[in-house]
């Protein structure tokens, strides 16, 4: 009797519609995505959640893993592709997270300013189309909030991005500097000016050659602090590793701990180093940040990262060298180990400027860019992704560009890609708005850690 009562109750509950199922799903996904940080430094996780809550674009940046898991969620997914008709097309080197704030200028050793993706922490072997859909999500959000885009413009963005991608795949060439959009030209000009004046250097380094730091963090968690003894010991180990691996004849002048930078990796350990090149006596700044595993691809796809690369250091190093043109766009870029922990070091320089959403908003609001400029910018984002894919490689050993061009042709060509990305942009923007609202509601209801306070303890008693 008791059994049947239980069964009846179970069936009754089962058949009743769940309350806000997507909210519950997001809740668990977001907490799980941050488990590694929760156990180590949950205050930083709360700051990350706050950043994600403040701006929709930040929410997008902080939810790459969730975005990937959503692609093959059995119900409610927006995603559908006409491509990936050959296995080779699912196994190319992808950027991973090609949003516009990860696309930046570099000053090459030859002195020219070039574009490249400066954050390849999410790079891995995967389906090429994922880079485009992720980029379209980011661009839809940015275009609406910073570039005055409405529905038709979002559609145009998807089409232009697809056109830039396919055109670059076919020509094999990056957009000629003479044909850069106004936005790209302005960004390059700004990079040249700020790099030449060394504004970044003087902002971070005191007159006595030591790095600036504060005594406390700001209310929002931002700030720069002096190293604790444990951090100083770690920096020593990391610097030895960096020097050995990179072969650069550098000495470490000073180091500080940096808090509150980035969104997705905000809780990661981050140091700023002041080093001197003993050959040239040039002094420079390095941003040294912990690198974790790339997010998992949608369930059912083999996670190839650990089979292809030896570790995360090799993954980001090889991806950068493959994707950047020239491969030493940042000559001091390298990696370092502290035991099993992996860090990467990138030069901090005024020459490195990304398509910051605030900068884009100012430019649009002030009327400095027109609708035609905006379209050229969309085209260039597609071109940048194509160029990265062209310079990358496929796991099958075939030329990655050939693999993708064939796959696009089999899936219906440029027109089909334009349609897919335009529809994706509209659907993703709507979903992003809804998810951002759900996330805000979760924070209000569950608190700063989304109710995960019970999970902050790491290894301990069995419970």
């Amino acid at each position: 009797m008791q059994f049947w009562v239980l069964v009846l109750i179970g069936v009754g509950v089962a058949c009743s519609p769940p309350a806000q199922p997507r909210k519950a799903w997001l809740h668990d996904e977001i907490v799980d995505d941050n488990r590694v940080w929760l156990t180590r430094d949950h205050a930083r996780v709360a700051e990350k959640f706050q950043e994600m809550n403040e701006e929709r674009f930040n929410y997008m940046r902080g939810t790459l893993s969730i975005w990937l898991n959503d692609l093959n969620r059995p119900s409610g997914s927006w995603f559908q592709t006409q491509f990936l008709n050959s296995l080779d097309a699912t196994e190319v080197l992808i950027v991973g997270d090609p949003h516009p704030e990860n696309l930046a200028t570099f000053r090459t050793p030859g002195g020219s300013i070039v574009f490249g993706f400066n954050d390849l922490d999410a790079s891995q072997i995967g389906p090429w189309i994922l880079d485009l859909h992720r980029s379209v999500q980011a661009m839809a959000s940015l275009s609406e909030s910073s570039l005055g885009c409405e529905e038709s413009c979002i559609t145009e963005m998807g089409e232009a991005l697809a056109e830039g991608y396919v055109t670059t795949l076919q020509t094999g060439q990056w957009v000629d500097p003479g044909n850069w959009s106004v936005l790209s030209q302005d960004l390059v000009a700004m990079a040249q000016e700020e790099g030449d004046t060394k504004s970044e250097y003087s902002r971070f380094v005191r007159g006595d050659g030591m790095l600036r730091f504060g005594t406390t963090l700001q209310d929002d968690g931002d700030g720069v602090l002096e190293l604790t003894p444990e951090e100083a010991a770690q920096v020593d180990r990391l610097f030895k590793s960096y020097k050995q691996r990179s072969g650069h004849p550098v000495i470490l002048l000073d180091a500080v701990r940096v808090f509150g930078k980035g969104v997705s990796s905000l809780p990661a350990l981050r140091y700023r180093w002041h080093v001197e090149n003993q050959d040239t006596q040039e002094r420079l700044l390095l941003n040294v940040r912990e690198v974790l595993d790339a997010p998992l691809l949608p369930n059912g796809l083999p996670a190839l990262q650990s089979g292809v690369f030896q570790d995360n250091a090799e993954r980001v190093l090889e991806a950068s060298r493959a994707v950047w043109e020239p491969s030493d766009s940042d000559p001091f870029f390298h990696t370092a180990y502290d035991g099993a922990q992996v860090f990467k070091a990138l030069t901090i320089s005024g020459y490195q400027q990304d398509f910051d959403t605030g900068w884009l908003t100012d430019r649009w609001d002030s009327g400095e860019i027109a609708e035609a400029d905006r379209r050229e910018f969309f085209f260039e984002i597609g071109a940048a992704i194509a160029y990265a894919h062209l310079r990358g490689w496929s796991l099958s050993g075939r030329d990655s560009g050939e693999v993708i061009v064939e796959d696009i042709a089999a899936g219906g060509g440029l027109t089909a890609l334009q349609r897919e990305l335009s529809e994706s942009a509209q659907a993703q923007l709507q979903l992003l708005n809804e998810d951002h609202e759900l996330f805000g509601a979760l924070l209000r209801e569950q608190g700063a850690l989304l109710g995960a306070e019970g999970l902050v303890n790491g290894v301990g008693e069995v419970q």
Binding site: Q2, F3, L6, V7, G10, V11, V13, A14, C15, P18, P21, R22, A24, W25, H27, D28, V31, L71, N72, R73, P74, S75, G76, S77, F79, Q80, T81, Q82, F83, L84, N85, L87, A89, T90, E91, I125, P127, I129, L130, D293, L296, L297, P298, N299, G300, L301, P302, A303, L304, Q305, S306, G307, D311, N312, V342, L395, A452, G454, L455, Q463
Partner: protein, 344 residues
């Protein structure tokens, strides 16, 4: 209320136990290694597998027993560089039960990391788990065990069996995340058949009212298994319906599985299993899988297995929706399987 009644029953029954007897030590070690070809080949070479490495130990003294089962898992593995001593294969606690089984009644109470009622039932009906987990676990909708308590009772000369469990709902690998518990129940009829009673028919129905994750996403199940041992053959069919899977409350898939295999000391035993899963909430979401092969008895406890598997997924359930390249896969391979017991 149910837990109080269960506790009272345990305490009262314990008072009647007198014969403690000797400690008996039951050990079981099952190891299987595979070599397979996968077509179309996806990613890096995955030909060699440690498909199963399980050590199970049970100590018994009178009605008291303790059961521990460890299973091999790859740390880090394909998902991460962050593993144990590189990416070593490590042993995971799969089951850890304190058990009490009075000798005057067909009953059992267990607590700890207890075996799931459905998985135990499905495992009893499907022998080739090194080639494929049983129905429910194969789809990833059920987990081997969960923290909690379980009680089972047999009536009518143990032909009618019932079991209930209360567990955390977070499964084998996660700690509790919400204030809710999973309540599950199974009812089973076992009908001996044949003149010597070696053959049997077994019918089970199962239900679970559950939640998962921080936001109590529903995680309910209803299912049934019908299996028969007849003339050295094992025939079975199972169906399981889910409302909510792995924290996704919108997911409502259902699976049906049928299988047939030899279950005797035949030198050559064929086996075949067919699975079909579908989520009515999702367009074009049919997943089909066929697994078949032969099992060769090499010596007592050691078998060679040759197998072939083919699976097809409609676009709604492909790893990336619409990616036809990911909608079909076949495996062909060979496995050496050993399962040895001490004091069976």
């Amino acid at each position: 209320m149910k837990m109080v009644a269960l506790f009272g029953w345990v305490v009262c029954s314990s008072a009647a136990v007198a014969d403690e007897g000797e400690v008996s030590n039951h050990q079981e070690l099952e190891v299987a290694g595979q070599f397979e070809f996968i077509s179309p080949a996806v990613g890096i070479d995955r030909s060699f597998h440690l498909s199963r490495a399980i050590w199970a130990s049970t100590l018994r003294k009178g009605p008291a027993s303790a059961r521990l089962e460890l299973g091999a898992v790859r740390s880090g593995g394909n998902d991460s560089y962050i593993g144990v001593a590189g990416e070593s294969i490590v042993m995971q606690v799969r089951i850890a039960e304190a058990q009490w089984r009075p000798n005057f009644i067909h009953a059992e109470a267990a607590a700890g990391l207890v075996e799931d009622l459905w998985v135990a039932e499905a495992n009893a009906a499907w022998d080739f788990r090194s080639l494929s987990p049983s129905v429910g676990e194969y789809e990833g909708w059920m987990e081997r065990s969960d923290l909690g308590m379980r009680a089972q009772l047999g009536l009518l000369n143990n032909r009618l069996q019932g079991g209930v469990s209360m567990t955390s709902g977070e499964g084998l690998a996660n700690r509790e995340r919400n204030a809710g518990q999973n309540a599950a129940a199974i009812l089973r009829w076992v009908q001996p058949m044949g003149a010597d009673g070696d053959d049997s028919l077994r019918l089970s129905v199962y239900g679970r009212n559950g939640s998962r994750g921080l936001s109590f996403a529903r995680d309910h199940r209803v299912g049934g298994i019908l299996s028969a041992d007849v003339s050295g053959m094992n025939l079975g069919a199972g169906a399981l319906k889910a409302w909510g899977v792995d924290g996704d409350a919108e997911s409502q898939p259902m699976t049906v599985s049928i299988w047939a295999s030899g279950r005797s000391n035949w030198l050559v035993m064929p086996f075949l299993r067919l699975d079909r899963a579908v989520d009515p909430q999702v367009e074009a979401s049919v997943f089909l899988r066929a697994l078949g092969g032969v099992n060769l008895a090499i010596s007592k406890g050691v078998h060679g297995r040759f197998f072939y598997e083919e699976s097809r997924a409609q676009e709604g359930v492909q790893a990336i929706r619409g990616a036809n390249a990911l909608g079909f896969q076949r495996r062909i391979g060979v496995e050496l399987h050993s399962k040895l017991t001490f004091n069976p």
